[in-house]
């Protein structure tokens, strides 16, 4: 009797406690989105300095700040696009996040790598693909506020990044000296696509030609997953977290390639009693978790599962979205407080990431 009750309970609990919320997120319910968006907006507005965390590790502090501001901009912007009446509510936080991204202090880690930040200048031969994250955030800012004071910087970044994409014979661009990360390059391509949408400029044929070269070098052919780190064309292991975030970023520029990545990733999902998760390493590959994937538990990665929500929503994959959301709700521990909602274990970074993923525009 006890075992039967435990089994029935486990089968029912995921559906009873999670599915209503999952449905509201998937369908874009305004009240559900606003409750989390208000908390994320407050995180951004309350942060005076350019960084959110002060670990003393320059690269982590800078990258986490860029990710928080970029994802806050994407999440808030996606909500405003779906509910234009909320524009004035979120513009102050979006402007503050864009100001943070345009602040060279946030990129001290990159200046350390190249000798100067790409915000100041990108010399020939330097990749600076980390700027794709900034350019995506500024692109969403510009889509919501075309007259943003960062428009000229946005144009300059995109011009420099797009020329590097188009000139690369492998489709890859260095993030830092001798470091090539395909998910970062996907962010660069997504930023170029979002810039075209925000400015209404025509799509250059070179952007589609780039996708063919990129897929040849950065997509692992047996799994269809994106390689995480590529020393050179066709090398490097595929990873779930990079594939999921890459599928989300590429949905801004190359919806077909993004869909292929999402489908390959979703085929490898694991589930137990209705709770779903995405693996960090596909069958035949093995490794540990890192700062990109977060903890990897029984092969399931926190990063891949979180980013997978965005990829699933962007591609209208409701069943994957619901299964991943059940797991996110169980371990993310959403709590309501003063009309706001926050995923307790996420902090500013995790909540901004989840806001962007849970509100990803369906293509």
């Amino acid at each position: 009797m006890g075992l039967l009750a435990l089994g029935l309970n486990a089968l029912l609990v995921s559906r009873l406690l999670c599915d209503g919320d999952a449905k509201r997120w998937f369908l874009g319910d305004t009240a559900t989105q606003v409750a989390l968006a208000d908390r994320v907006a407050r995180y951004v507005l309350e942060n005076e300095g350019p960084t959110y965390y002060e670990t003393g590790i320059l690269r982590f502090d800078g990258q986490s700040a860029v990710a928080t501001d970029q994802m806050a901009l994407l999440g808030l912007g996606q909500i405003v696009l779906a509910h234009p009446e909320l524009r004035e509510r979120y513009l102050p936080a979006m402007r503050r996040a864009a100001d943070h991204l345009a602040d060279p202090h946030q990129l001290r880690y990159a200046a350390h790598a190249y000798g100067q930040s790409g915000l100041q200048r990108m010399d020939p031969g330097e990749g600076h693909a980390y700027l794709g994250y900034l350019a995506l955030g500024l692109g969403m800012m510009r889509r919501i506020e075309p007259e943003t004071r960062h428009a000229a910087l946005h144009d300059r970044l995109i011009e420099g990044l797009a020329s590097r994409l188009y000139a690369s014979s492998t489709g890859l661009v260095e993030t830092y000296p001798d470091e090539r990360w395909p998910p970062d390059v996907a962010a660069v391509a997504g930023a170029v696509g979002l810039h075209l949408t925000a400015t209404g400029r025509p799509r250059p044929p070179a952007l589609d030609a780039w996708a063919e070269r990129f897929a040849r070098c950065a997509v692992e052919p047996t799994t269809g997953w994106l390689r995480q780190h590529t020393p050179s064309c066709g090398q490097g292991d595929p990873r779930g977290s990079g594939t999921a975030v890459g599928a989300y970023f590429l949905s801004f520029s190359h919806p077909e390639l993004a869909r292929q990545l999402h489908q390959s990733l979703a085929e490898g999902q694991r589930g137990l009693l209705g709770f779903g998760g995405l693996r960090e390493y596909p069958a035949g590959f093995d490794g540990a978790g890192d700062t990109n994937s977060g903890p990897v538990i029984f092969g399931i990665s926190v990063g891949a599962t979180g980013f997978g929500l965005g990829s699933a929503r962007a591609h209208g994959d409701r069943s994957t979205f619901v299964r991943l959301y059940r797991t996110t709700r169980l371990f993310g521990v959403p709590m309501s407080r003063g009309g706001e909602r926050t995923f307790v274990v996420g902090g500013a970074l995790g909540n901004a990431l989840l806001l962007a993923m849970l509100t990803a525009e369906t293509r």
């Binding site: 009750a5 435990l6 959110y52 307790v344 902090g347």
Partner: protein, 89 residues
Amino acid sequence: MILAKTALRAAVCLGLLLLQAGVGRWLAGLDVLDELVTGDRLGVGVALALLVPLRALTWFVAPAWLVSGTLCDLWELRARRSPQFQKSG
């Protein structure tokens, strides 16, 4: 007797639920990552370590224990009141 046992089980479940909600609400007022990096590492670490098992208990174990325990009690009572039980007793 059954009522008392059910009330006890319900009180334990409610206690777990309230404890989980209390820990969650306290953490919700903080930036957990920031606290783990530069703030109250021990307090937040212990709260986080408690929160997930508490949540698993309240989601997966408590409802099943409450319902199946009560059903078992009722079953036992019914068996005790049946003529066969009386005869063998």
